[in-house]
């Protein structure tokens, strides 16, 4: 049996989000199992399953090099530019 990662769309229009994983013999079985395991309480309107082996992930040991450079770029946020209160609905 293969490991599958499960993604659920909670409501029409939203992104699919990762909810967990399960084992199955093939994609069809994975979908059926995902429905039984992850949507018993109307949690979703659509399911994607992806073989876990097909997912490439970033290396947690490299988190600093990868993500810290975004930390000192405060100018990427609107709050970096104060507005006078007469025009602060921009």
């Amino acid at each position: 049996m293969k490991l599958y990662e499960v993604f659920i769309r909670a409501k029409s229009g939203l992104n699919h989000r990762h909810v967990g994983s399960l084992h199955a013999a093939d994609a069809q079985m994975a979908l059926q199992n995902a429905r039984d395991v992850y949507t018993r309480r109307e949690e979703g309107v659509s399911i994607w399953v992806v073989e876990a082996a097909a997912i490439s992930a970033s290396n947690p040991e490299q988190s600093e090099e990868w993500f810290d450079p975004a930390m000192d770029k405060v100018y990427r946020y609107p709050t970096f530019y104060p507005l006078d209160k007469e025009v602060d609905n921009m």
């Binding site: 229009g13 659509s46 530019y81 921009m90």
Partner: protein, 322 residues
């Protein structure tokens, strides 16, 4: 009923039952997803609208890219670089969303470079002064926000979701532009004049960004019914004028329109007639920078050829090694 006369991919009539069910889903604010049934004309209209939008994000990098190496301070340079980088990202979000409709990225690129596909007319104007970076952020990104916020509720799921991401990032773009204008408008007489000149240059082309007047806009009714357009061109333009006039006044800058006047009865600003002749010329390819912009895109495409080739060779090597 607008759907009458719609043709499927083979030129036959679209099945009435499917059309009805499709429209009902849209009327209920349900999102249409890539694998759902959709009328061929909906797919085609969306491909045109979304690819134009993506091309605009990409070509839109050029007028601002012009100033990255000449920004007045390191801070302004970092900000402008970050903004232009965001625009590249916006292009990628929308290109990928458009690919879910069955067109390839290569085909979209081909359409842009051959001139078959359009992009926003505004990017065919030159940016001769640093103050234009201010006017673009404030007015052009401001107009883009007016247009994009309602599209966060567009009926096509991948489009709506890409708009949500984009809108989150746009607000910084507009504010950094207004910040540039504020500094200039409160600076020396020469700086204030720079700001005013940039406003004079950008104002009318920014109003044209909303497209033809409603009375001349041919696709509007069907697109509104399909909810891939949620306000008319003129409504959005009015909203933009109403929001922007007080911002100009606050900086002591004058909007270059002698007919601009608050209309108490309407509760909106009245404003002058757009030079539609100019708009049509720019759309047709005869704006001040159309040729320059396409040449720059073509050059980037040609010079990137070796990168695409190298990636393919690398992929082959990886496969051979496996």
């Amino acid at each position: 009923m607008y759907s009458q006369g719609l043709q499927d991919a083979k030129g036959g009539p679209e099945p009435e039952g499917l059309l009805k069910a499709f429209q009902k889903r849209i009327d209920n604010e349900e999102k249409i997803e890539p694998r759902d049934w959709m009328p061929e004309a909906y797919r085609k209209t969306l491909i045109r609208q979304m690819s134009q939008h993506a091309h605009s994000e990409i070509v839109g990098q050029l007028p601002e890219g012009n100033w990255i190496t000449r920004a007045p301070t390191l801070k302004r340079k970092m900000i402008l670089l970050a903004k232009v980088q965001d625009e590249a990202g916006h292009g990628l979000y929308i290109y990928s969303a458009t690919e879910t409709l069955g067109i390839t990225r290569d085909e979209m690129t081909r359409q842009l470079l051959s001139g078959e596909a359009k992009y926003s007319s505004i990017f065919n104007y030159p940016t001769p002064s640093w103050a234009d970076m201010g006017a673009i952020g404030w007015l052009v990104d401001g107009a883009a926000i007016m247009n994009q916020v309602p599209l966060c509720r567009a009926s096509y799921g991948p489009y709506a979701r890409s708009m949500i991401r984009i809108c989150k990032e746009e607000s910084f773009h507009q504010r950094q532009g207004y910040d540039i204008m504020t500094v200039l408008a409160r600076g020396t007489a020469a700086q204030k004049k720079m700001a005013q000149d940039a406003l004079n240059r950008t104002w009318w082309p920014a109003l044209m960004m909303f497209g033809p007047s409603d009375k001349d806009s041919k696709h509007s009714a069907q697109s509104m019914q399909w909810k891939i357009k949620r306000f008319t061109n003129d409504d959005l333009r009015q909203k933009f004028v109403d929001a922007t006039v007080p911002q100009a006044e606050h900086l002591g800058l004058t909007i270059p329109d002698k007919d601009l006047k608050w209309n108490e009865d309407r509760g909106h600003y009245d404003f002058g007639e757009i030079d539609w002749q100019e708009f049509m010329e720019v759309i047709k390819g005869n704006g001040p920078c159309n040729k320059q912009r396409l040449r720059a895109r073509q050059k980037a495409h040609d010079e990137g050829e070796w990168v695409r080739k190298a990636a393919e060779v690398y992929q082959q090597k990886q496969q051979d090694a496996a």
